[in-house]
């Protein structure tokens, strides 16, 4: 790791000021993506702004027909939130498959969404629930937020403060774990909220998280795994690495979407 200057603001305002003042600064939330690449000397930010001590970034709150989750809320807090378990259980179940207890007690939902790792779980949940990403500057729909692997709509000096998740009638996440890293080799989040049906896929796409309109259209007619019979996604544009080729990943998208729909339907309200 190279040397850097370390800042630990306690208010969002301080953090935003520090970000504006320090060129080549990086925000540190849980640090589980940033610190490994710094240790390998693949990243060398001149300044680190640790936002883990900002109280206003944490917490889970029921607001009307949605749940607002602070960006600094840890995976473990998401998993154990009674509000989420009651209102969006599919979202509360996502972090159980992330890393190990150490990771889940440090890593944050905002960090995961801002990083937009193509194999991360939360981008699928955010896109699959039609979340709104709220920053210090504006509100961004998930559909506009994720723009390709490790790429988002965030501008320099912009900090995610919260995510607003609409309460879906039904939702579930199915993940096929990468055997080494534990990330999603493929992960599929499905939700149904009135006529809005969403199928969001992580891990599979060479360009990061994406939706599957054909699946959504079929499920809109009838939200049942059988509705997906005969449907598949194309292997074009799927990731190819030493663990899984495009064809296998495309196949898994179908399998996991069916299982996620079945899970969502099996859940007792």
């Amino acid at each position: 790791m190279y040397n850097f200057t370390f800042h630990q603001p306690t208010t969002l305002r301080q953090a935003v000021n520090l970000l504006a003042k320090n060129e080549d600064a990086k925000l540190l939330a849980g640090g589980h993506s940033l610190l490994p690449v710094m240790k390998q000397r693949l990243a060398s930010p001149a300044a680190i702004i640790d936002i883990s001590r900002i109280p206003e970034l944490s917490g889970v709150e029921l607001k009307g027909r949605s749940v607002v989750v602070g960006a600094g809320t840890t995976h473990s807090e998401v998993a154990n939130s009674q509000v989420l378990k009651d209102s969006i259980p599919g979202l509360a179940e996502v972090p159980a498959s992330i890393g190990d207890p150490h990771v889940r007690h440090r890593g944050t939902i905002g960090g995961s969404i801002a990083n937009n790792d193509p194999n991360a779980d939360y981008p699928a949940a955010a896109l699959g629930l039609g979340a709104t990403i709220i920053t210090n500057k504006r509100r961004i729909a998930a559909d506009d937020f994720f723009q390709g692997m490790f790429t988002t709509a965030l501008e320099p000096n912009e900090i995610i403060t919260k995510m607003q998740f609409p309460i879906a009638k039904k939702c579930a996440y199915q993940k096929f774990k990468h055997p080494a890293s534990g990330f999603a080799l493929v992960g599929v989040f499905v939700s149904k909220r009135g006529s809005d049906v969403r199928v969001a896929v992580t891990g599979a796409g060479a360009n990061g998280v994406f939706r599957v309109p054909e699946f959504e259209a079929a499920l809109k007619k009838r939200f049942n795994a059988k509705s997906l019979d005969g449907l598949s996604v194309s292997a074009d544009g799927m990731n190819n690495d030493i663990h899984a080729g495009p064809e296998y990943r495309a196949h898994l998208v179908g399998v996991l979407a069916r299982r996620a729909v079945a899970d969502a339907n099996a859940r007792k309200d």
């Binding site: 390998q40 055997p179 080494a180 890293s181 030493i242 663990h243 899984a244 296998y248 399998v255």
Partner: protein, 788 residues
Amino acid sequence: MSATGIGASVRRKEDQRFITGKGHYTDDISRPGQAHAYFVRSPHAHATVRGIDTAAASAKPGVLAILTGAQLAADKIGNLICGWMIHSKDGSPMNMAPHPALAAGKVNHAGDAVAVVIAETLAQARDASEAVKVDYQVLPAVVDPAKAQAKGAPQIHEGAPNNTIYQWEIGDSAAAEAVFKSAKHVATVDLINNRLVPNALEPRAALAEYDDGADSLTLWNTSQNPHVARLVISAFVGMAPEHKLRVIAPDVGGGFGSKIFIYPEEVVCLWAARKVGRPVKWTADRSEAFLTDCHGRDHVTHAELALDDNGRITGMRVKTIANLGAYMSTFSSAVPTYLYATLLSGQYEIPMIHCAVDAVYTNTVPVDAYRGAGRPEATFVVERLIEVAARQLGLDPAELRRRNFVKTFPYQTVVASLYDAGDYNASMKKAMDIHDVKGFGKRRRVSARSGKLRGLGYSTYIEACGVAPSAVVGSLGAGVGLWESAEVRVNPAGTVEVLTGCHAHGQGHETTFAQLVSERLGIPIEQVSVVHGDTDKVQFGMGTYGSRSGAVGMSAIAKALDKVEAKAKKIAAHLLEAAEADIVFQDGKFTVAGTDKSLAFGEVALGAYVAHKFPTGEIEPGLKEGAFYDPTNFTFPAGCHICEIEIDQDTGRTEIVAWTAVDDFGVVINPMIVEGQVHGGIAQGVGQALLEGAVYDADGQLVSGSFMDYAMPHAENFPSIKVDTTVTKCPSNPLGIKGCGEAGAIAAPAAVINAITDAVGHENVTMPATAQVVWAAVRKAKAVRAAA
């Protein structure tokens, strides 16, 4: 059986230290004035080094020296060697290319060291290393052993045409050809024994110190055999004479073979310590470990089994290409030859075997022994062949095995091994009973109801352990003998120190060796300590690998204990004023037969050192005896592992749902430790079968160079494993021990793949059998069935 003697499941004495973080590993040791080494490593798999510019780096803060291969050569530091000579079938010696500790003008694998920075701190050394400018001319690379000998393949070493190290064979190819021509049935397999990264928990480390007053060097390192390290670094590398070089391997956190070998970093730290005049420490980080620890396996094999109409094996033919990587590591040549082909008879009577092995260089990390070393590769060939043959003949795989088992001992195989004792049917029968093989059909139907495929696979393996009779290995090309030494020092108050040439890095010697002493001398194990891993304390020894510490190392201790007992009897006789012939030693007491006159062991020990009234010249004071033990044969642990798996057809995910292991390890010293060894071995074998695989791209970059891409086995990958034993005493050593350290890793891969292929109904399943591989096999099997 006493509470702490042979056969007792005594808790490991060393665990208190390890579990509470009180172990002393090489990196825990620091010397006054210590500097740090950071290696500049080649990012290219194959390149000419046109120049190294160290000027800018030398000016960086804290830098003490930057050393290169040219300086190493100028100081006449010798090359690393492979210590086992193999001759090709045409009689020519193997092509051992020079292996300098720092590259001399050319790098041959990604991670090959070209220079070392010595600085005040590790961070400074690392910072400066980035300023070392190496001018590489990149050359095309070859990584696939099957392509290394092809026309037009990049040539790695002068003097090794076609990248061929040797072309070795065992058996008569013409006679084998005749057997196959007349064979009624032939089963064929094409196998890749996947390349593995050892990944010991503790990465390799070295700390070297030069004492200019005494002109002597000390090396602390992560070695499984510090004496062999001293011998090689002294006699071949020429660093210092043996009496001026002390090697200490303190607590070592796992080896699995990878810490047997002598590595460049140890040589460089010693050289640098003397050159800089400061102690020099190096500890690999995990990425460095992936790129520099010797890898394991990496065979490409075509094999055939000939059988008659009664399912009797009539012959076997095997052709293997073994990848030894960029350089020949310390024991690399022996692994795919004498530790491999000599086990191809498995547990079976096979009248004719021919095996040809080509060893090749590639632009990859050197490959050498890794848990099992050659024997897992052999078992995979034999046990896959027999399973495929059984299916082809429509025979129950257990029945085909039974028909061909060796049943009378000793049995001389046609591939040099002389099996001394065993009862293969007994272990298979016991395993089948414990596993409830009879209920498998029902379990399979239950799985099918939920859309899952269920399979059952056997592996009736054999291994050659207790390495090894010195005369035998000498005749096969080994540069060393493989005896072991021991010294038993009885202290005046009756406590005992056992000095051994073996080295513990997870095996639990501090407990099991003490159990032997406890059994023999009748003292509690708390009064026994085991000393190992320091060339200044233990005179010489061959270290620990090849499941040899029990069979060979403990036999040496037993021999020394015999001598201690004999002398103690003499002393007891004198103290009790009786004839020596009348002294009986039992349960820690020396008694005059037929009387109640006796002395405890501690009293005799004290008498030995007080020596007040010893008749001059008749009894020497003191009680300390040493012994060297050279085994009369290899030992042959064997057993039966049964793996049962379930496959999710939609995803191809394999879950191991049951595992039974019944092994014959001969006499067992500590059943709990043995069970742990079996668990660990199976975990590593399952890792190879389902998860692990070192992958290089065509340019020679290690794509699976971290735990993000290299999948290690986790507890969640296993069911509760049922472990049991059968016992046939090993007649080749005084304790009847066969060895247990490698069995699991040897048996497991074939058991897993036999289970998967059984479930899928398709034989072509490569390792690691990832979900994608199994999914593709399921699809292929369905397509074949649909076409039929």
